[in-house]
């Protein structure tokens, strides 16, 4: 994946956590997505379609998910409930939407977010370049995974 494609998502991630939750997040080196091992306990997924297609995944451990949700909403949850799922779904929604400002060469539409549990074996299209960016923060670790590919133009 071109670094131009991943950078808007990295920037949006850092801005969102700082503006919305006053949490500084720091990434380490991105790497090619390896599969289920790159997912934690809870993941929020949003699809991308249009002139480029792919997905954005935010994956948290149970503990960090609860902390981020409380930081986002101001509401403490003891378990991964509707509020927590709403919160992380909204966070990935904000990151995906904000990233589009750095990808103006494509007209991209984002789906509604979905929250899934466990280390899913996400079967991504073989030709979808997908990168995982590991993050650390004062509220715990999480991974940002982005798959993005320009749609091929077909001659008519």
């Amino acid at each position: 994946m071109k670094s131009d494609y991943i950078n808007p998502f990295i920037k949006a991630t850092e801005n969102t956590f700082m503006e919305m939750m006053n949490v500084k997040v720091e990434n380490s080196n991105p790497y090619v997505y390896r599969g289920a091992e790159d997912l934690y306990d809870v993941s929020a997924i949003i699809g991308l379609a249009g002139e480029a297609r792919g997905l954005v995944v935010l994956s948290f451990s149970r503990e960090s998910c609860l902390k981020f949700s409380e930081a986002f909403t101001g509401i403490k949850s003891d378990d991964i409930d509707e509020i927590v799922c709403d919160a992380i779904g909204e966070i990935v929604n904000i990151i995906a939407g904000n990233s589009k400002e750095g990808l103006l060469q494509f007209r991209i539409y984002i789906s509604l977010p979905k929250v899934v549990f466990g280390k899913l074996d996400m079967r991504l299209p073989r030709n979808l370049p997908t990168i995982t960016v590991p993050y650390e923060s004062g509220l715990g670790p999480f991974n940002l995974t982005v798959g993005l590919k320009e749609e091929e133009q077909t001659d008519r």
Binding site: N15, T16, E19, M20, F72, T73, G74, I75, E82, I83, D86, A87, G89, E90, N93, I94, I95, A96, G97, N98, S99, K100, E101, L103, L104, R107, I108, I110, S111, L112
Partner: protein
């Protein structure tokens, strides 16, 4: 002032309502809707002064809701502020063409909301 908050995420509805209430304590009555369909029902059942509208929602998204409201005689000039993660300029243009009054890009903080209310509709003292 009757405020309609439309977002499929309950936490966002609460964040927006609480942020507004923080600055306008007691001056606002809040109505909530999960999507454009529920929001249309709210408009028919209540008098709404200002609406904060998410874009990406199931059943009826914010854009379709906006266009539908602009076709309503009694709400053709309703103040509609779109609050959305959609930051790309072409999306803002699309929303303005649909008829939104103003646009806020999430993440949303209280000052942004208060500024819009003060700009378009000062609450009664």
């Amino acid at each position: 002032m009757n405020v309609l908050v439309i977002d499929d995420a309950r936490v966002m509805r609460k964040i927006i309502s609480n942020s507004i209430n923080e600055n306008y304590m007691g001056a606002c009555r809040f109505f909530e809707a999960r999507d454009g369909v529920e929001a249309m029902e709210m408009l028919l059942e209540n008098h709404i002064d200002i609406a904060f509208v998410d874009w990406n929602m199931p059943n009826m998204d914010g854009l379709e809701f906006t266009r539908n409201v602009r076709d309503m005689d009694n709400y053709s000039d309703l103040k509609m502020i779109m609050i959305t993660s959609e930051a790309a300029r072409y999306m803002v243009v699309e929303a303005v063409k649909a008829g939104v009054t103003d646009y806020i890009v999430k993440p949303v903080v209280g000052q942004k909301l208060w500024g819009k209310i003060e700009r378009y509709f000062l609450p009664e003292q």
